[in-house]
Symmetry: D2
Subunit: 356 residues, 4 copies
């Protein structure tokens, strides 16, 4: 039985972690902490867990206690707070899955620009493994510190990876028009998130200036083997959870290079490239349980992924452009579900445990 702790248990990501881990047959939550006034049963904060757990959520973090009780710690903390705890936990030999952005960006100057603070643990950034299993599974397995991906990056990267892997689009043409439910903003008191301000509304925000943009650019650049800068416009939806990204890119006219042992030509056989997009996606993700590729002329919608760890992807071939529409539950595949998926990989549990 793996003993885990959750620091930052009172937010939306923390809530989902608790929900998943209470159903996990090989893991046991052994420690909870959050920025709250006083220690209390977690069911005071989330009454929905009553009858499922009697765990206490601590208001102060006793690192010795954490280290005694846990083998693995989830940090579901705001950005800039995780980097205070991660080094100490790692030094004590614990494994850490960090749901914040603190260890995601390899270029510390981008982190400092987009998050507005000095990084306090620069040395460890390059050791952190970006926890997107569909791309980095092999590196996740032995990792000590997982930088769990952001929600927008997760959906964007899964949507674009096959196109970049096979060089099917012009990388500089990528436009990501993303729409997210409000839990993506975290659980906080703010007038702009007052029910009546969000309900019956839709707005774009941080137009081409969102902090997830450099994360998307970094990972797409790794995939493409060259520097990519996307156009990224997030919108705030009047729904609780879910992200849908509608992505536009210009087709490339280059010959797709071989990647590993596979090439798109092989994948797609003799059929014309334009009709073979779906096949390429299906083969690219054929061993990935949590990515579901839709059939032709079918497109994903939020309700089919809500409450699941799936990423659904639909593809439309539009003359000189490719349109990819993808969606996830921002709190699951976009945060806590993916964090547990990473845990399952690290500890050799079946990857889908507690996630189906």
């Amino acid at each position: 039985m793996l003993n885990v702790g959750i620091i930052g248990a009172s937010g939306y990501a923390g809530e989902e972690l608790i929900d998943i881990l209470l159903s996990h047959p090989q893991a046991r939550i052994n420690y909870l902490a959050a920025k709250i006034d006083m220690s209390q049963p977690i069911t005071k904060i989330f009454p929905r867990f009553k009858e499922r757990t009697a765990l206490i959520c601590n208001n102060e973090i006793d690192l010795k206690e954490v280290c005694t009780k846990c083998d693995l710690v989830f940090l579901a903390l705001p950005h800039t707070v995780s980097m205070e705890f991660a080094p100490k936990l790692l030094a004590a030999g614990k494994k850490v899955i960090d749901l914040s952005a603190d260890y995601r960006l390899k270029d510390v100057s981008l982190y400092e620009k987009f998050y507005g603070v000095k990084h306090k643990d620069k040395a460890r950034i390059k050791e952190a493994i970006y926890g997107l299993p569909e791309i980095y599974r092999n590196r996740i397995k032995p990792a000590k510190l997982i930088a769990n991906p952001g929600c927008y990056p997760t959906v964007s990267l899964l949507a674009l990876a096959p196109l970049l892997a096979f060089n099917l689009i012009e990388p500089e043409s990528i436009i990501i028009d993303a729409k997210s439910g409000t839990t993506g903003a975290g659980r906080k008191a703010a007038l702009e998130f007052f029910f009546s301000e969000i309900n019956e509304d839709l707005r774009a925000y941080k137009v081409n200036a969102h902090q997830h943009m450099p994360e998307i650019n970094q990972e797409l650049s790794f995939l493409a083997g060259k520097k990519i800068a996307v156009t990224f416009v997030p919108h705030l939806l009047p729904v609780n959870r879910g992200i849908l990204a509608t992505i536009y890119a210009k087709k490339s006219n280059k010959v797709p290079p071989k990647i590993g042992e596979t090439s798109p030509a092989k994948l797609a056989g003799t059929k014309s490239q334009s009709h073979k997009l779906l096949d390429i996606y299906k083969k690219f993700y054929k061993d990935e349980l949590f990515v579901r590729v839709k059939e032709e002329k079918e497109f994903p919608n939020l309700k089919d992924v809500r409450g699941t760890n799936f990423c659904d992807i639909g593809i439309h071939d539009d003359k000189d452009k490719i349109i990819v529409i993808a969606c996830i539950d921002n709190l699951l595949k976009g945060a806590s579900g993916q964090a547990v998926q990473n845990m399952n990989i690290m500890y050799n549990f079946p990857e889908y445990t507690a996630l189906l």
Copy 2:
């Protein structure tokens, strides 16, 4: 042209007052103030008013300026703040319509108990006229200080007035199960009103302890001529605006007394009392434009009153009980619409001006 000012212009009630008064042919908004960081065009706070007004909203209240510019001032302030401004405005000869609760409760001890502060202007409480036109129109006309009714009281009183006027129910049996949209809570940053906390949820709150309960009791007692204490359970709905109250009361078996020149017998002719409820309501409200009585087996719903100053009422005769279902837009008939209705009465404008 009547010159009016609005103090507390940045809240939901203030926003609606601006919206209504910008369309009022006989009134002109001449002053706006709110608790904001710096003076700014009101369109910075409410961009929806762009192209309709260039008014500046002040961050500090210059009473001299208010008094120079305005004949009538609307106080759309939080409870306990109005009573600081009303006395000074009245002393300067201005008329005041106060949308807060500060002058509604005649029994100051109830005010102090339910609002948790000492009252600072007790003397003026008894001069204030409770601004429910359908009941107090004649007193509103010459009034200097209007205590504009609360949203729950408005819908409850209009729903119950005919029954109490004609002594048709046992007053101690009244149960008001009310459901309100979130704007009723005011416009404020609070975790409990975060979109994802309210959306897809319903909850009862302040069960039989809401501050509007003594106001309902006071006014019902006036109507009944004896002390009444209702059971009152408000619920928070995941909608922006609107209140629907479902009200239950036991039928009285007393002979209805004459009221003025009318008696239920006269009203209802020879038909049996139980079948004549609708007729009683229709006659009670026959001169009231803003009260609409539904036909038999029809019941009101929020969307038909949303954005209007109407109160819709449906009645069901249930053996020994009467069920009354009534609804209003909490920001209009329950606040700003009624405030303008009161203004129209005070200044002899047609009562519906800017309200249809």
Copy 3:
């Protein structure tokens, strides 16, 4: 491994049954049918189940196939359709859990009045066991035919059972003001359920005329040992799922009779009756996993039961009245969750299997 079938798999209750049963370690869905144009993978109807099941949903019901493949059949059919299938399945020795109302009402004349059709299987009505485990667990265990309770009755009965069991209220005073999400209406094309007609709206419907009222009356009468007729006003909420019932009743002044070996006096010790309501509820439900009694001044809300099989109950002692507020997920404890709970009881699986 228990083999089960679901007839009526394309509705909301069917969808939830599939979701639960796919996670059930001791049961396997072996047959699906629904009123659809042609047989097709269930994932065509509910794409959310992709990668979880490859089951085909049949468009015609082949009873021989059902009986070969299944030990137990869930009928998630519209009212009046179940009674065509149940007799044949039972005759073939299969067990049946019927989610419709066809076998709930013992008084067939009430069924025929409220559902508007002749009953075709009257003889079997009295054999059917009303599947509310908290009340009828012992009868459910050996049952062949379960009449799975309606959503409004489930929440109402669980809320009122302790009060009636201990004779704490005047039965004729019960008022149930219930609010339900739209999935309660079933999954169907109807203008009145068009998104824009429901969203931002609230309405009462079937005021004291809802078909669940005789079901509530029947079961409350059994509990009270005398004929009860409640006042019941359902409302349609702009949420997908969940029912919250606010229930009002007058306190009884009778001495509570002994029930089994327990009496309220024993339960509540020496404290005054009025303060002991919570204790009575807690003891009444102390062995019931799926009923959670809130602490004093705490009340349940939809989001804490959404997606769960719990019924949350809060109690308020209001002088001469008792107010009980209870809620459930209408599709789980109010339909499919309770159906699986019944199955678990019938087959000696731990009662919570696949339900936590």
Copy 4:
């Protein structure tokens, strides 16, 4: 006083027309008809209009009656139905504002392809004036037959007109990612629009295949003076009303040509083109009351245009791309508001009458 009729009064566009026209001081609704079972007061269909009108809505259209009673007729009918009525009304000397698509597309083959029917009144297509006042005001004034623009085209054209007029973008690069509330689909019984199917969901639909796409292409081509084919992906939002379009286009590097007496150089003075986008928009729309251009880094949102006839536009200069975000109320500026704006122009009423 202008006498107007509305045919198709029972849909969402009809409802809004009634709402606006009841407040119009120079127009009087004199005739209503709709596809309903029997003639009835319009307040039976829309109880919200009670106390505002006693008009009867006819279930059969008596053309003689229409022509006797009305000078102008609004056709708020489904596509393909308008073309049956318009010819007869025009022949009788009446003016017609058609809210359907029947007279919008100049290329009848596109109409027949996208609407799936033969056109029955081809000759009149070229006489119809496309009723977008900001572009075609002079032609609208004397028009007999107005083809009132679709909702998506209205917001898209107003957002793009300045860029095309001044040749600032590469026309073939235009991507329109549009998000619409559900009333855009009309008022109809359909499972896909059942509340629970839309609520908490988001989906793309008719990806690059929506019937409004040829309309957008036609009008953009007129503006650009060359054939344009946009990429157009509409999405269905869980809100009642409003459309927000996020539009992406590549900057042109051509020298902007003179247009009329104005050129962008003149408009923008000596400042660099990229910083002058806002100025260009502001000057392009400086005489247009119903187009509001946001300041730098400000973007429009649905709630600021809901219930109004405004189109709000925000612009972002993104290196080689321009991002334009625009929104309207789909039922007002996108349908009935614009129809009345056209009527006001045709009859020389102040253009904003009944629309502010």
